[in-house]
Symmetry: C2
Subunit: 329 residues, 2 copies
Amino acid sequence: MNRPLVEALHRSPLYRPPLWIMRQAGRYLPEYRELRGRHSFQEAVSTPELAAEITLQPIRRFGMDGAVIFADIMTPLEAMGVDMTFDPGPRLRPHTLEEVIALGELDLDRVGFVAETIHLVRDDLPEQTAVIGFAGGPVTVLAYLVEGGGSKDFLALRSAVRRDPAATAEALEILARTTNEYLAMQVGAGADVVQLFDTLAGLLDRSTFERLTIPAARASLADLEVPRIYFAPGAGHTLDLQAKIGADGYGVDWRVPIDEAWSRLGDVAVQGNLDPATLLTDPSTIRREVRDLLARTAGRPGHVVNLGHGIDRNTPLEHVTAFVEAVRS
Amino acid sequence: MNRPLVEALHRSPLYRPPLWIMRQAGRYLPEYRELRGRHSFQEAVSTPELAAEITLQPIRRFGMDGAVIFADIMTPLEAMGVDMTFDPGPRLRPHTLEEVIALGELDLDRVGFVAETIHLVRDDLPEQTAVIGFAGGPVTVLAYLVEGGGSKDFLALRSAVRRDPAATAEALEILARTTNEYLAMQVGAGADVVQLFDTLAGLLDRSTFERLTIPAARASLADLEVPRIYFAPGAGHTLDLQAKIGADGYGVDWRVPIDEAWSRLGDVAVQGNLDPATLLTDPSTIRREVRDLLARTAGRPGHVVNLGHGIDRNTPLEHVTAFVEAVRS
């Protein structure tokens, strides 16, 4: 059984690069909006039948090579005793570093719905399609915890790393351990690939990235028996450091051309990197940009086609079709 | 008359590097909040006595080496016939590229209050303190125009540059010409230094930055007889390209250590780059970070000390004092 996404992350030569789209199970799909009209975000995530249905929606429509499980990067925190709501981003009480360090262990039973979702998805998925599990990177999760939700600048984390780097490292160690357990559970349930979404890691300077982000990301991805992708958007200033994380593949955003990013990342698989804004233009622009992207990777083994960030909710369906067909033709 | 800020931008050797703080005339100051309790943002900007008072407030308290005029990057647009409100960010009708291209000329009389503010500030400023004029970078201003205000991702501009690069270039040319006239007016009124704030330029990929941002920034800063600073936060992926803008100094954010940034920028003056989050920590952390910053520049002529982005509104005054004293001692 050769799933192209898995093969590409092993850098095996393939006839064409595999493709999936970050946030492919989401609001640009009318069938997603219809379902969410009947169920809250948390209900949809925590009910395996609903989460599996949402996970499969984009596959039925576009047949991507990977089905990314519908969940949130904050999902495991609720199973560590953190109270939160979503509207739509996470809202919670700001936590001190000491409170994060004192958080309970991850109760895997309380995230069993994610494993069950993976089982249901696997049962309904075409054989060649990979199941993609994921978690938030420890730095990103910690940024939300200390800030108490979303923010433009996440100054709470950025001041914490300077005020108390030792306690920050300890908090990251706790989160990395639970993230690793959570990902291992997903692999045990049948995830073929896992991705660590370190959405906020690019807010940190290079030396903090090296001292804190890399060990936390590395520990999160340790000893998993499937290909692992690390993705930190807006972190172009750290590309040459990222290989130390030890992932198999690295997602790159649209800011740096993929060939330049690849040469800075080294001998790894690379995922990306069409600007999601491209999917808001028109089919002929989309085809031109895809041609440029594929010319830059030139069939080099190890390329996974994706956007450089999540798909925008206002993306027209026919533009997604144009993207998928341009990659395949 | 040797103003240290001007001298540093000429890369003359100085006894200590000059210092100012982006957004130093702003909400972290109780006297600013008091004044703004009585006057709206637009009223404060457009009334020279009020704008001059706000500009001088941080100088009286901390004695920075430069006084940056209180205004907004959108200020000249109103003098081009664009209607907008502030709450606090600019809100306006989304413009098409064609509408931007058709915008009226800049009516300098309608921004005469900025020149008058500069006269008033110069009259009250210590002789050695430089007056800093500024404008928004054309790419940044265009991003607000096509988006119709602030945004997390500014997808309208990012899709415009891909859908219609020729019209985008034409719109940028219009904005660059008016930006240049607006800056020339400020220099004529007595600005000793000007800075182009290209806050959103880092959202663009390297090749778009090279094709569109650089010529627009270059034209904005052309033929001005004072030192010119270019600042694009989050644009670490373009540092090696920025010298083509032809500015005298370049601001750098906190993501890349200043010595690494400097070697990528080349033989220019460099401004920055303490993380603004550092000013939310404590005096001893601030002193340590300033020592690290100054060790990295090691007295090299051409360093202007600043934060890597605007000062946060919740910054305690005594932390600003600690920052200023650490630089001076």
